[in-house]
Amino acid sequence: MTEQARIRATGPRAQDRPLLQVRGLAKTYGARIGCADVSFDLWPGEVMGIVGESGSGKSTLLNCLAGHLAPDRGEVIFDTRADGPRDTVTMPEPERRMLSRTDWAFVHQNPRDGLRMGVSAGGNVGERLMAVGARHYGDIRATALDWLDRVEIDGGRIDDRPSAFSGGMQQRLQIARNLVTGPRLVFMDEPTGGLDVSVQARLLDLLRGLVRRMGLSAIVVTHDLAVVRLLADRLMVMKSGHVVEQGLTDQVLDDPQHGYTQLLVSSVLQA
């Protein structure tokens, strides 16, 4: 945990224990390894990047952590608000769903996977609120407007459907929709994938601001080293389902130890 993250982290228990503890997580697809023997701690307010080439098990790992896939082995212990640390793998599904609607958020690479394309922007942002019991239309709409503003979408577009939005706007809308319930842990799967560079830069800027201001913990999966350089405090490098190197972002990127990491860092084109 960096000094920065330590300062940012707030809340009574923040310093005492990690928000997420992963122990010996493994997932295989038949004889093929999805990911194997992954262990790490994520502290409150910390952003961790997972990098690696495609097929290295990044997304498998993220989906196992977020409860979308059932891992074959291992524990994912989340520090819940009510009961303290709980293993989310063995947790009953209703509780896990409740977590994924409140304390967790998942930003998909393709906004179409994370948004309801037939529902207006306001409805998209309001869904999580209504799922946890908000029943006042005026309040829901006010919150939706506030969040559209925070992700730099014009409030006048609140009743438009996401299909009428540009790719960058859709991604920002997806972020608003996820962060509206004030989650503590955000999973992001290639949040800037498929966007052009100027839009990527704005989105990263926005994400960084939101993460810092809300004191969020996040796990960001990406193959774009610029993204982790900007967002992540700590970095994990994966290859063939295994974690080959982890450490502080700058340390790993500036002084890569493992052969694969060296290759990865040297492959980046310098503009």
Binding site: R97, V119, G123, A131, V132, Y137, I140, D159
Partner: protein
Amino acid sequence: MTQSGQYNFAYLDEDTKRMIRRALLKAVAVPGYQVPFASREMPMPYGWGTGGVQVTAACLCPEDVLKVIDQGADDTTNAVSIRRFFQRTAGVAVTERTGEATVIQTRHRIPETPLSEGQILVYQVPIPEPLRFLEPRETETRRMHALEDYGLMHVRLYEDIARHGAIATSYAYPVKVEGRYVMDPSPIPKFDNPKLSDCPALQLFGAGREQRIYALPPHTAVVSLDFEDHPFEPSKADHLCALCGAEDSYLDEVITDDAGGRMFVCSDTDYCAERRAAGHRGDMAAPFEEAGA
């Protein structure tokens, strides 16, 4: 062909009735839960009440008195055919009087006359899944019911208000049963929704094509979904019945000419007729002498 000798009582064979009754018992035990059942082909097209007919057939006893209504009316094609079907296959007595019936099969209405203990109201249901148009996957909707994940239902109402300024859903208005399952009350007008709750009669819902049965046992609490600042409002046309002058019944709009002429009449024909027999008169009712002739 002599009918009575050819058919089993109420058309369905006893094994099928037993299967349906088992589904019904389960449905009554878990109010609002959609119980799958092995719906049979019936001698009528899907959408004409195949689910309702099967439920009615499984409930009928020889001493029952049957009433069938379609949009509140006893004399429309659907109601007449289903009534005749059971007259031929079960030989039960039929009536148009709500109060005299023991089993009432209905399409899209709840009778105006309050139901009483011992009566069974059977609804014909086209699409039993209230979440269907929001979530097309059946596996996912079942999971949502199991986990009480009903945020999406309110998203639909939110969209209504955002687009129309008020909840524009006027029929098949979603309800929550005993604080647990969200249920589609079949396409009854939302005017009828309050009658679902705490009803002394047993209410059974049959969807033939979708192969689902669900139920509301007597005196079940049924709440229409809404927002705090946009509460549920049962609505009807703001008129009196042109025939019987009723102000509290659900009205159908009838176009009477091609120059904009229209009249509003009770959709419940039995209720309207009873009121007229009791001497109530609306604006466009026939004069006394003519009516008696």
